[in-house]
Subunit: 470 residues, 2 copies
């Protein structure tokens, strides 16, 4: 205990009174977990203001053999920022935007800057930072880089990995690696930033990133499309990509149930098409030029209607209608929460296998839990489906949730068989570590352990996350 209080005293001296939290009430928000699935524990929460302070913390923790859990906005869904003792290192006060350059199309942000703040700074410079997801007001850049965040714009702009030009990180021994380059081409040795993107803070702590910017779209068009099958949606996707290429900035698949739940639970929503359809697609085109995208969209939809691929479609006639269509998509998670308990699966398969995956997955889920409200929706253009299963109406939530292991097995087995991923965009964290151990190629697991041992031999950085123990 003496060495622990010494350790905390050294931290408090360096960080000042705002920098170190040990009061349990004040620590509570840093130990809470979004879905209540985990309860964190920590000896303190450290809040550095600079990369140097973060490096000092990590070096001191390494010396005292204290585990460190890095934390951004604490919006993760897999328990990656949950501490089980040790020190929580919150990056929230590293919140400066260090620079924006429209000629480089690049913005340098510290780890604690929220996604919304980055989007706003890009806009102020006449540019777009395209990453877009539900928690963008609270999610922070360091966490978004560390989890290789996805969202609705990946189809056009890529995952976070594709949006990072440079990186700064604190290594497990407390040294700072400065890779804040603003370069589009750089083959000077190993691409070290790749180690820290998507490794969920287990190999290093991201303190700043250089992010790619794009031109702001000046034209947008969106449509809501009714279709009979996921196969029809696949044909529509190909048609849209062939005609619009990177003009296609959204392609979200929604089942009938998703829309019915939204209409039932979310006030102010209206049915987007006159009739019900088994499936819907929300499609969006964008362009940095003034362009008649609604006309283009209507043309493609007419071709697809003539080919009997689509049953009905409505193109948004105004910006208000367009945002209204997106709202239908965005409130699905909330509508489902209001409807009852849910067991969720953030998975991906090759785009061509989505119809197969949905046909078989839905049948298997119904057989396992008759009456289950399967509501698979999401980023079809990326092959990323949130295969979410709601409790049967009127069932006891606890009884349904007790089926989690069995339903995970059914869904993940199928995903694995189809060459998919059991963790498409939310990561592994604590929640899926055992699933990763089950499904990953043994050679891959061994390589992951080799990397973890090489970079963090003492195992003090976000211990127990991502990499399954041997």
């Amino acid at each position: 205990m003496d060495s622990q209080s010494d350790f905390l005293r050294r931290l408090a001296e360096r960080l000042g009174p705002q920098g170190l939290i040990t009061d349990p009430d004040d620590m509570a928000p840093y130990l809470a977990e979004e879905r209540g699935a985990y309860r964190g524990q920590a000896i303190a929460v450290a809040r550095p203001r600079t990369a140097d302070e973060a490096a000092f913390l990590v070096a001191e923790a390494a010396r005292a053999s204290v585990p460190i859990v890095p934390q951004g906005g604490n919006t993760g869904l897999v328990g990656g920022a949950v501490a089980a003792g040790g020190l929580v290192l919150s990056l929230a006060r590293l919140d400066r935007i260090r620079g924006v350059d429209p000629f480089d199309r690049a913005l340098t942000a510290e780890a604690g800057v929220t996604l919304k703040a980055v989007q706003d700074a890009a806009l102020a410079a006449g540019c777009l930072f395209p990453l877009s997801l539900g928690s963008e007001g609270t999610a922070r850049i360091g966490g978004l880089v560390s989890t290789n965040a996805g969202g609705t714009a990946v189809l056009r702009y890529g995952n976070m990995r594709e949006l990072v030009l440079g990186l700064e990180a604190v290594l497990p021994d407390g040294r700072i690696w400065n890779g804040l380059k603003v370069l589009r081409k750089d083959n000077a040795g190993y691409d070290l930033k790749q180690l820290f993107i998507g490794s969920e803070g287990t190999l290093g702590i991201v303190t700043a990133a250089v992010l790619r910017l794009f031109p702001q779209p000046r034209s947008r068009a969106a449509a809501f499309v009714g279709l009979a099958t996921p196969q029809a949606a696949l044909l529509l996707l190909k048609r849209m990509q062939d005609a619009a290429d990177d003009g296609l900035t959204g392609f979200e698949l929604l089942p009938s149930l998703a829309i019915e739940l939204v209409l039932q639970h979310m006030p102010g929503t209206v049915r987007p098409l006159a009739n019900r359809h088994a499936w819907y697609v929300l499609v969006e085109l964008s362009s940095p030029r003034e362009a008649d995208l609604a006309g283009l969209l209507e043309g493609i939809l007419a071709e697809s209607y003539e080919a009997a691929e689509t049953a009905d479609a409505a193109v948004a006639a105004s910006e208000a209608q367009r945002t209204g269509l997106w709202r239908l998509r965005e409130v699905i998670p909330e509508a489902r929460r209001r409807d009852g308990a849910s067991i969720n699966h953030d998975v991906s398969v090759p785009v061509s296998r989505i119809p197969d995956f949905l046909d078989r997955g839905l049948a298997l889920a119904e057989r396992a839990v008759p009456g289950v409200r399967a509501c698979p929706f999401g980023h079809m253009g990326d092959g990323n489906i949130h295969f979410n299963l709601g409790q049967p109406p009127g069932a006891d939530p606890a009884v349904f949730l007790a089926e989690r292991e069995r339903l995970n097995r059914i869904v993940h087995d199928l995903v694995h068989e189809l060459g998919g991923s059991i963790a498409a965009e939310h990561g592994i964290g604590l929640l899926k570590r055992d699933e990763l151990a089950r499904y990953a190629d043994p050679v891959a697991l061994d390589l992951m352990r080799t990397l973890k041992r090489a970079l963090d031999p003492a195992g003090l950085l976000n211990p127990g996350k991502v990499v399954p123990e041997e």
Copy 2:
């Protein structure tokens, strides 16, 4: 010697008579180096037909402590495929395209498939594989992945790293890691393929890759633009990107000298603009749709002319004219070879720093070697300039080439000062290993060595390449 002949006998048994070359004359093409800067040596050249055979070779070599140098098309420019003893492992017979799927927009190719063959297979499926570079008829996929190849289409489609969805590689201990996923989103643990992309065969041997495909362009427009300064080219680049975004598929900067050398040395070339200009830009727009790109291009160029940024421009009026403009760009290296000795620098800087880099770099080069024919050209949109310095007219080539070290220092010091890279797209190999040691952050060097030791503790895989010794 006994153990070496045992080793070769085991290899010959497994690979058959076509699979192992020990005759010096037959080995010669595998030991030659494009520019004649290196002379390779090897005990044999092994030519496996499958990943299993490649894995067998690596395992046997590991057991016998024989170094292995992987080799694709042997078109590299930094000596990365040059052997200094040991075994050359040629991937040329792993030449199958395992699959193409237009719905997944993905193609799976073995390491020995040439870039041209991949481009052709994509075209046959109605798609585009966009990587494009001078040696595409002979360069092979394994080498292109291992060197994170660039070229003229990076501006729109990214480097090879951005074009790889999945990978298969033989590890230094002879195990095969199968990461041939066809997924757009996959956060299931560390992204292991990043280890093998761009590490030049020092951490593993790429045996196959899943590559991203895009829609074939249906419209193209190109223009040749005359300008007074690189600063004007920077303004034009921004104007083009803001107006065309990802429709901009080429933006090559050329100095006056490049065009004069082409006109002088390359028969059949014609002056693209009536007058001479200090600088030129070759700009190209593409679209997967039928679109009036020439009209769009003319509109942007007219705005830029009115803003006094550009002095003259010619938009190609036909496909023949368009390919003629590209030919002017593509024959620059050959025209320069015919003009005399050259000292080349494949470097990048932040796009915004290109004018500064060129102004200062050209002045420094002239001061160092009066009369030097500086001919910096290349992929301005990526910040990647081939800062190539030709001998003064009439000078003794050998005397000029003796200035290599001094000119390297001047150019690389400036690049480093501007936050650039001394190896933009050609890699490190042998040629730039000492330069990497000089300029890289010591923490970065230490991380590279840590990775090399962790994955290849015996140091048998492409030894002496990329990672500077301690």
